[in-house]
Amino acid sequence: MNRRTLYGALLGAGVLAGVCALLILWRPAIEPVTVVPTFDAQQIARGARVAEAGDCAVCHTRPGGKHLAGGLPLVTPFGTLYTTNITPDAETGIGQWSPDAFTRAMRKGVARDGHFLYPAFPYLHYSQMSDGDIADVYAYLMSGPPVHAPAMENHMNFPMNIRPLVAFWNLLFLHTDPIVADPSRSEQWNRGRYLVDGAGHCAGCHSPLNFIGAEKSGEYLAGGSVDGWDAPSLLGMAVRAQPWTKDQLVGYLRGEVVAQHGTAAGPMRPVSLSLGRLPATDAESIAEYVLSLTSSEHVAEVTAARQAPAAQQSLGESLFAGACAGCHAQAAPMRVIDGRPGLNQTSALRAASPRNFLQTVLQGIPALPGKPGPAMPPFAASLDDDQIIALAAFLRAQSNPAQPWPDLSATLHDLRQEAK
């Protein structure tokens, strides 16, 4: 090979690499629209339902902020992101986005100007939605009041602060297409799967994530964590020691108190409030689908009973009598008046990890203005660590005496640190 062909080959390889890099890393801007189109009221109403099912407002509204104007911090292992303004404000929102630009963002995770969106925006799931639903959400979002709210600066750690790297993440994980109905299943089951995998993006929290923050494909809905809470496995819910019936799951999904399991708390609370505003048929479909999911795992082996020390038991018992019994004791007034659950059977107390029980005690369940409940006061400032541990050990001994939580103190310590 003479020098000339060598240079030629090198040049060719360089150009090829450049083209590949361009193809992977570069996305064109899509022309801005200057006139916000108008939509018919029916389409806007359909879009509002899809947006509710997709929980757009849960992330895209900060506490005390304007609806859908963004600004909520999302704390990830890779740094802190702030959600963006998705009102139709031309300058700071999506007012200049055409239907094509919006669809590309939903399906490919690319903003109108061509920059890559972080996958905290669940486009892996939204890409599984139908064209009709995406068009309806667009109509709904573009018809709301525009709010001027510039994006907050993200604080991502190196190397995830380099946005184009998301392109490689997409190469690895973005292989999702609109969901095709399974004709061997019922219409309700198919609707449920569509909501769970599409707009609802349940796996975003309920599947474990790998080291670069993607859902582990082999462990679909097998349980993950979010904001310091456990997002429990959704597999085999119908055949657990304390099984879920469809009615119970529908009630839970819609924010009600379900005597046998409790009520949605933590990050699931706003999701359940959204589902409560949707027609009950949506929660029924989700329950139909979720309860059909089976688990390959067996119920964990029962370990030998290990009682908490007697002193801790008695401290836990008297704390329960003082702080909890008014709502949660056998014949408590609040159980009779307003359906507060007994604790023996709640999912949080039967779970393998004490995390959700401890979080509920620390943070409570916030009251909604104008709503009678369910609500629970936070006890983070009222009870010290020894008291919470004694309370947890006492209640666990009531609900699951064979399996005391081994890691109470460490888990509580972690949660207190995270709350700082």
Binding site: G322, A323, G326, A367, P369, P377, F379, S382, L383, Q387
Partner: protein
């Protein structure tokens, strides 16, 4: 009985108490601080609200045993009848008290909000105050009183 030292409104008080005694009883019966009220005893009404390390808690559900070393503040820390604090003055100007039973709790919960966020909007005030009830129905006047402080130009001074 256990020997406990409670730090209330800036003073240390050595007391012999049952460790599971609610903080409210210690404040009222042992320290004579009768501002915080017993309403429901269930954490449903908020009349017993006091601040522990700047966070509002229901003192009827808070056992004394965990309170050592914590900074407890009651309505008596805000001012006196002769010299009301500015939040108390605002409640007076808005005529926010009817029977007055809930007001000590309302004041302390509002105080916690204003120390954390000096300029909350009405939505934030409503959300924060949602756990405290007034059976006379003066909620609108209470919100008005808090809003007046929240709208001031001068940032709210921390206690």
């Amino acid at each position: 009985m256990t020997h406990l030292t409670l730090n209330v409104n800036g003073s240390a008080h050595a007391l012999d108490l049952e460790p599971d005694m609610p903080l409210l009883y210690a404040l009222r019966n042992h320290l004579g601080l009768n501002g915080a009220k017993y309403g429901c005893g269930l954490g449903q009404c908020g009349a017993c609200t006091v601040l522990v390390n700047d966070k509002p808690v229901f003192s009827c559900l808070t056992p004394c045993a965990g309170m050592e070393g914590k900074r407890i503040r009651t309505v008596e820390s805000l001012g006196t009848a002769e010299e009301p604090g500015e939040l108390q003055q605002s409640f007076i100007e808005s005529q926010a008290a009817q029977c007055g039973y809930c007001i000590a709790g309302m004041l302390m919960r509002a105080q916690a909000l204003l120390e954390h966020d000096p300029h909350p909007d009405e939505e934030a005030i409503r959300a924060h105050m949602a756990t405290n009830l007034c059976r006379c129905g003066t909620h609108l006047r209470i919100i008005d009183a808090i809003s007046r402080i929240a709208r001031r130009e001068v940032p709210h001074e921390q206690q």
